[in-house]
């Protein structure tokens, strides 16, 4: 509480009132690029356009227009099907249930296809794990299908000249089979495999080649947990967690909302206890995060307890002892943890004891000793069987890096003849990747199933490319007894073959009918008939069962689990192996929300999705702590560096155990002093073009101890290393609230009574409350809103209220309490609305095109602030300031309350964006999509490559119902008007009133926590009309009388003051 401040801020620049930030905020369009270009002497001298050229172009333009006018209109063809499939009606979308799987990442999905091509991923509500939610990785997966750099067929990378290159599948099979013999020592290297069918295939392959070993590891490892659970319960599995049953959740560095095990499921469950249902009797669970850097989960926590990465184990032990002393349990060898943390953990123990059986402690550590203590703690609190279910184990992480290390030793010793890499990339994501590479080179035959080039595949002799999951048959068992189907939604784009089929061919399986139309499907059906079908009783025939599973995409076995075994771990022994924390500068390496462990680095949508906390794109950054001198109210950046501003930041060189890397610095609030953090998954070297030159690979800085991977380093040096010229951090773009240079404006005198201190709060952008103060806050809010509304009654414009009373009046409701900042909506919006990817340089120049941004604000204690995420898109104001400044009426209002943007009318004056107080309008500075007729408008003119999405394959992902914008027009959120129109039409055709389910925006369907609700506020029975009644609602910038259609529910936290020292 010591540095509690009554304001809300976006970052250090805002806190220090950096004049450049204020200037930047006042400039509607950031002029950096032009100024830079003009400052460059060379550019001016080499600039060839002069008056004569202008006249030439003018003359040419008129001439060309004349000729074009006299030319005939080109003939367009309409080519119908010869035999039209029944399921396809051109112009109408079909949805197929399938499953997104990548290693242990899992999401049950519905794939939207148009004219036979998948264009959008939606969550599958039939699945009780993901509950209809998605995350950014899932949303972006459809784009990777259309990656034009995918392998187009089998390849050999061995040999010289003509022998190197493309192969036919027959040749490949012949060559591979010639290398395989009954005694071959084979290693199949994978990440977690969720598919029971694939496991069956492994077994079949192993039966044929008995010296085969399947080596499964996960780059961000959960082996420590698996081993601990084996010790404690005899099962090497992860349990099911029930965050919806927990009133107190403690996480020791487990980012369970962003990346940990099953984030979609956990987010959906956790949020159930976080929304205020009754403002009179508010009830919320409490989340306490014990960590060093600000993770996404930490940013959503009520209390954060700062411990160094090396102190994590000690912190777990401290909490264990504190709880044990209250419950009369035996204590274990105590460890040193910093004093403030110790005090807070003691307070936390009280909370936990109060919530026995309704609490949950999770830990992201990969140290099995720490996990044993965590298990013991949960056991002591009676959480097993209540909030943790061992009887329905999760299979979402199964890898053990010790197996991988053993395989490396085998390969090094020449004890491996054939290595098959299936979905793993050890040459990139192992700390000892170099050792792996030398060992791998000693294997005689190296085969990869990769779809695109990666570091490991580049070392392989044969590439037998696998289908994309949207082209595949398959299954996934994320939890015991919960099986999901994968079905193809498009014919394979290239000459690829499913990895499972390749393995079966090489195993010369008798069950695979290679002459069949779809051999793998037949194999899988046969396998299902023998296994899954037998375990159910609902269907008499297999065909009926199969059709039902295909339709739902999900099958739950009714058979109950084995029942949780009793806890049999030895916490005292484990604690003995936990070391005390270090004292030096420490670094923590974490999995990022977008990139995973680098598997997603070739996806431009994920590259351009800002990191939830840092708000950076296209690379990894070093999060450094911020110093605060309470006496002087002064801030300082880490190690005397300059604070980042105007799109520049300092670079820092970090050195860990002889290895170094240079990363741009982000000044991160909430980062523990004497620690820094950096994200993994960037810096791929062998990767398709989107992932090239983005960040640095930090896996090499992780290390192993005898139990497995360690993702931190307790001894690191950081030094300044020059300036980063292209600091692509969207945090300071489109800032609302900071007004003019003097910090005063004319309105302020009028508005004075309602204003508080800081611009961000005094312009009502963010509202927060502690759950205990809710009554007062509601009272204040009512008072303020009343005042605003009174001000708003003095209006120049006559109200349109009557107009909106008939028909529909669209509105959105966003619950800031449910928003966890994960970014699924941002990516979903890009996919739905054909929003272009602009690249790092353009983002640096404030030219990002996302219609929906998630603003991240801090409030509270400057040393350890709380966070609010605010999804911000066009507010569809009923008094829209943008509309009355457009000289050509390209943006205007519909009778249904939509702020309409008409691209073909827009002449690009940008007055609208200037006048938008929410800063949600985006201008097409270049022809990012190559939709324009003139290639000169493309942004490659600055010497960059062709813009992303310029090729016809990538364009297949475009939504045909949404116009692709060309250069020079403004665009913005349309409330997914194409979906509104589609929903209305459906209701009209079915001759009934519109229902909520008819119209759902893309951001709404993507959200795993249901934070966004959209609908017709004139429909009294609709969800939105109900939600709009909440007393916690407010309108952003209500005082400026824009009458927005987006309502926000204020952020309520459950912060406990006792835990703050």
């Amino acid at each position: 509480m010591k540095d509690q401040q009554q304001d809300v801020w976006v970052g250090l620049e805002d806190k220090t009132n950096d004049p450049s930030l204020i200037e930047q905020a006042n400039q509607e369009f950031y002029e950096l690029p032009v100024v830079d270009a003009l400052a460059d002497e060379k550019f001016v001298q080499e600039g060839k356009t002069n008056r004569r050229d202008f006249l030439k172009y003018l003359g040419f333009g008129i001439g060309a227009a004349t000729i074009a006018a006299s030319c005939e209109i080109p003939v367009k063809r309409a080519v119908p099907y010869v035999v039209k499939p029944d399921s396809i009606v051109p112009g109408v979308a079909s949805y197929y249930a399938s499953t997104f799987v990548n290693g242990g990442d899992f999401c049950s999905v519905l794939v939207k296809t148009r004219e036979g091509r998948p264009i959008k991923i939606e969550g599958n509500p039939s699945c009780d794990i993901t509950q209809g939610g998605t995350n950014a990785r899932t949303q972006a997966s459809v784009l990777s299908l259309y990656n034009n750099e995918r392998f187009q067929g089998p390849l050999t990378l061995e040999g010289e000249g003509e022998r190197k290159g493309k192969l036919s599948w027959e040749d490949l099979d012949k060559q591979v089979l010639s290398k395989l013999s009954g005694s071959s020592r084979v290693r199949i290297i994978t990440n977690t495999v969720l598919s029971p069918t694939t496991k069956k295939i492994f077994a079949e392959f192993t039966a044929k080649y008995p010296n085969t070993k399947v080596v499964s590891y996960d780059p961000v490892s959960y082996a420590g947990m698996l081993i601990a659970n084996e010790e404690c319960f005899g099962q090497k599995v992860l349990p099911s967690y029930k965050f919806d049953q927990a009133e107190v959740v403690v996480t020791f560095g487990a980012d369970f909302l962003g990346t940990w095990i099953s984030p979609i499921e956990f987010a959906a469950d956790w949020v159930k206890n976080r929304t205020i249902k009754d403002t009179n009797k508010p009830k919320m669970s409490r989340l306490v995060a014990v960590e060093s850097g600000m993770s996404m989960t930490g940013s959503n926590a009520d209390n954060r307890i700062l411990v160094k990465p090396s102190e994590q184990g000690a912190a777990v032990v401290t909490l264990y002892n504190a709880v044990a002393s209250r419950l009369g349990g035996g204590s274990i060898a105590s460890k040193n943890v910093n004093a403030p943390a110790k005090a807070a953990l003691t307070q936390l123990a009280d909370e936990l004891v109060k919530a026995q059986g309704k609490s949950l402690v999770v830990c992201g550590s990969n140290d099995k000793n720490v996990q044993v203590v965590v298990n013991a703690l949960n056991n002591m609190l009676g959480n097993y069987g209540a909030t943790i279910d061992m009887s329905k184990p999760s299979l979402q992480r199964q890898g053990d890096e010790r197996d991988m290390q053993a395989a490396i030793r085998d390969m090094k010793g020449g004890a491996v003849d054939v290595a098959i890499v299936y979905g793993a990339n050890p040459a990139y994501d192992l700390p000892n990747a170099d050792e792996f590479k030398t060992a791998f080179a000693k294997v005689g035959t190296r085969i990869s199933f990769a779809q695109t080039i990666d570091e490991t595949t580049a070392l392989c002799g044969f590439v037998a490319p696998d289908h994309h999951y949207l082209e595949s048959w398959g299954d996934a068992e994320p939890k015991k007894g919960h099986i999901n189907l994968i079905q193809p939604t498009i014919r394979p784009l290239f000459d690829t073959r499913q990895a499972g089929e390749s393995l079966l061919v090489w195993a010369q399986s008798a069950d695979l009918d290679r002459k069949a139309d779809q051999p793998f499907m037949d194999y899988m059906k046969k396998s299902w008939e023998a296994t899954v079908f037998q375990g159910q009783s609902g269907f008499a025939t297999f065909q009926g069962f199969w059709d039902n599973c295909l339709h739902d995409g999900v099958f739950h076995t009714t058979a109950s689990g084995e029942g949780g075994a009793a806890f049999a771990g030895d916490a005292a022994a484990a604690a003995g192996n936990i070391s005390n924390g270090g004292s030096g500068l420490e670094v923590n390496f974490f999995e990022t929300v977008a990139m995973g462990a680098g598997q997603y680095a070739d996806n431009p949508w994920l590259m351009e999705m800002p990191d939830p906390v840092m708000r950076t794109v296209w690379g990894n950054y070093l999060q450094t702590p911020i110093g605060y001198d309470a006496g002087k109210n002064a801030y300082s950046a880490f190690m005397g560096m300059e604070t980042s501003s105007k799109g520049y930041t300092e670079n820092a060189k970090i050195t860990v155990g002889g290895k170094d890397a240079v990363l741009p610095v982000v000044n991160q609030f909430g980062q523990m002093p004497d620690t820094v953090s950096a994200g993994l998954g960037y810096g791929r070297t062998q990767v398709t073009s989107a992932g090239q030159n983005t960040g640095i690979n930090l896996f090499s800085m992780c290390s192993y101890n005898k139990d497995g991977l360690i993702q931190y380093h307790a001894s690191v040096t950081v030094e300044k290393a020059g300036r980063e010229q292209e600091f692509a951090c969207v945090q300071y773009h489109n800032t609302m609230g900071v007004t003019d240079k003097e910090g005063t404006n004319v309105d302020e005198k009028i508005l004075a009574p309602i204003l508080v201190k800081n611009p961000l709060t005094k312009r009502s952008i963010i509202r927060t409350s502690n759950v205990d103060d809710l009554k007062d806050t509601i009272h204040d809010l009512e008072h303020e809103r009343h005042h605003h509304q009174k001000l708003n009654s003095y209006t120049l414009y006559p109200g349109h209220d009557k107009e909106f009373k008939k028909g529909h009046h669209w509105a959105m409701h966003i619950d800031l309490n449910a928003c966890i900042g994960c970014g699924a909506c941002t990516v979903s919006c890009m996919a739905e609305n054909n929003v272009p990817v602009v690249g790092k340089k353009e983002v640096h120049r404030h030219h990002e095109m996302t219609w929906l941004r998630i603003d991240r604000y801090y409030y509270g204690d400057v040393n350890n602030p709380s966070t609010v995420y605010q999804p911000m898109m066009c507010q569809h104001c009923d008094n829209a300031p943008c509309e009355n400044v457009c000289p050509v009426a390209a943006t205007n209002h519909s009778s249904e309350g939509l702020n309409q943007m008409t691209y073909n009318r827009c002449i690009g004056t940008r007055y609208c964006a200037n006048n938008c107080p929410y800063k949600v309008r985006r201008f097409n500075w270049y022809d990012y999509t190559t939709a324009d007729l003139w290639p000169a408008n493309e942004y490659s003119i600055n010497g960059e490559d062709l813009p992303f999405g310029a090729d016809n394959l990538t364009r297949m992902v475009l939504n045909p119902d949404v116009t692709v914008r060309s250069r020079g027009v403004i665009e913005k959120c349309s409330f997914c008007v194409q979906r509104i129109q589609e929903g209305k039409l459906l209701a009209k055709r079915e001759q009934r009133s519109l229902r909520d389910a008819d119209v759902k925006t893309a951001c709404q369907t993507a959200c795993p926590t249901g934070a966004i609700v959209f609908g017709d506020q004139n429909n009294d029975e609709g969800v939105v009309a109900q939600k709009l009644k909440s007393k916690l609602n407010y309108l952003v910038l209500e005082e400026v009388n824009t009458a927005p259609s987006v309502n926000y529910t204020m952020k309520v936290n459950n912060r406990s003051d006792k835990m703050e020292s």
Partner: protein
């Protein structure tokens, strides 16, 4: 009394008989008209003068006058029997019109046939009728000539007036100068007057105005294709299908009711009927075989080819040539010359071969710009707009053309004028205000405009 009764009874019976006979047995042009429409009009042109699938019927009675009337009746009832019997007129007709076979009408009575011919002759001999559809054009042409005529007349009169005015002015001038006795000052000639800066300036100004006006008008029309009538790869006739056979538009264009696209039918939709109707009424085997070539259907056997995609081109060609030859021989008689058979087959195969194993690439007629969203289902299923409202009388178009301008002004005008099917669709219940006004009689209907049909994002997003 009996006489009276007799006479009354018999009179009644006679009257009844007479009436009966007159209404049932006598040839009657009104009945003939109905019969013609029902039985003949599908193949014979209704103006009785032009040829259609069958010959013009106007001259038929005269052509058959050399033979007994019974022959004509037999011909109508069963023409093929007459051809087989070797009747000279029948043979003559078969030579011209074969292999198209006239339908048999065995149930028509002599009187009915006479009635039909009464109607035919009535139509044939009537003064040329102004057909409704051509009135517009005819009127326009008439208007054009009148307009030109008036224009010339005005020009001549204007010129005359100018000359007369000039003469009068000159005479006045001379008279005046004579009166005053001074030498006449030099007057401007007509040429000088016309070349004066004033006149030239005015002329240039006028030209700029007219030029600008036409430029703008033409620029607005850029990219519009009203009247666009390209040749299609298959001579598909909407007259035959939609006009004569009265096939519902949405049988083939089945997307119109449920999708944004009306959908050009897939080849397998054609096959629904053309698996049985294998010889076209207008082009025989030449056009229909294109569908078979595309779909991989063997018209000889009436089955789909096995493994069509893997068949050798020669095999396919052989089957189709057999089909052409058989039909040609059947039409022309077995003794037709081999060269003619081959020529026919070459000609037809030439047109058909590009369709083998390929989808049919129709030329798209109605093209909207990319930034326009149009949805057929909205208009057809919800708005209950007739196809013809926008597409024109397609059932009369041998080759389809773009009937409407498809301009934004055209769309908007329709949205202003068209009333929404408001009362019978519960979807519109949310417009309570309009419903109340309709109930109270303040309003008779709601136009598309009034529920937001002119707003940008109804069509542009």
């Amino acid at each position: 009394m009996w006489f009276k009764r007799f006479s009354c009874q018999h009179l009644l019976i006679a009257l009844f008989l007479f009436v009966g006979v007159s209404s049932y047995a006598q040839p009657n042009a009104t009945e003939g008209k109905a019969l013609f429409k029902a039985k003949c009009a599908q193949c014979h042109a209704p103006d009785m003068k032009s040829k259609s699938t069958g010959p013009a019927l106007g001259p038929a009675e005269e052509n058959w006058s050399a033979y007994p009337r019974e022959d004509l009746y037999s011909w109508v009832r069963n023409s093929q029997k007459m051809v087989e019997s070797g009747h000279p007129r029948a043979a003559e007709l078969w030579g011209v019109w074969g292999p198209s076979v006239m339908n048999n009408f065995p149930n028509l009575t002599d009187d009915q046939i006479d009635g039909i011919f009464l109607y035919i002759n009535e139509k044939y001999n009537a003064a040329p009728e102004v057909v409704e559809t051509s009135t517009g054009t005819g009127g326009d042409v008439g208007g054009q000539t009148n307009y030109t005529f008036y224009f010339i007349l005005i020009a001549i009169l204007g010129l005359l007036a100018l000359i007369l005015a000039r003469i009068v002015s000159n005479l006045n001038h001379m008279a005046k100068s004579q009166e005053e006795g001074t030498a006449p000052p030099k007057r401007k000639t007509l040429v000088e007057l016309l070349l004066s800066p004033m006149v030239i300036g005015a002329l240039i100004f006028g030209l700029v105005i007219i030029g600008g006006y036409t430029t703008v008008n033409n620029a607005i029309d850029l990219g519009r294709q009203q009247g666009y009538q390209p040749q299609q790869p298959i001579k598909f006739s909407h007259v035959t299908h939609a006009g004569e056979q009265k096939i519902d538009c949405q049988y083939c264009h089945d997307g119109a009711r449920r999708s944004k696209h009306s959908v050009i039918p897939a080849t397998n939709t054609c096959m629904n009927c053309h698996a049985s109707v294998r010889v076209g009424s207008k082009h025989g085997t030449a056009e229909l075989s294109k569908i078979y070539a595309s779909a991989g259907w063997n018209p000889n056997t009436g089955t789909y080819f096995d493994n069509f995609e893997d068949m050798k081109p020669e095999e396919v060609e052989k089957e189709f040539r057999k089909w052409f030859d058989d039909n040609f021989k059947e039409a022309k008689g077995a003794e037709v010359k081999e060269e003619l058979v081959k020529e026919n087959a070459d000609l037809q195969w030439d047109g058909v071969q590009e369709f083998v194993n390929n989808p049919i690439e129709w030329v798209r007629i109605h093209n909207l710009p990319d930034h326009v969203y149009f949805n057929h289902a909205q208009h057809v299923s919800v708005g209950k707009v007739e196809c013809q409202t926008c597409h024109g009388p397609v059932e009369e178009m041998e080759v389809v053309q773009q009937y409407s301008p498809l301009s934004m002004g055209w769309c908007v005008n329709c949205h202003r004028q068209t009333e929404v099917k408001f009362a019978d669709n519960p979807y519109y219940d949310s417009y309570e205000e309009y419903h109340e006004q309709m109930k109270s009689g303040d309003r008779t209907g709601v136009t598309v405009e009034e529920i937001g049909g002119l707003e940008c994002q109804k069509c542009h997003y």
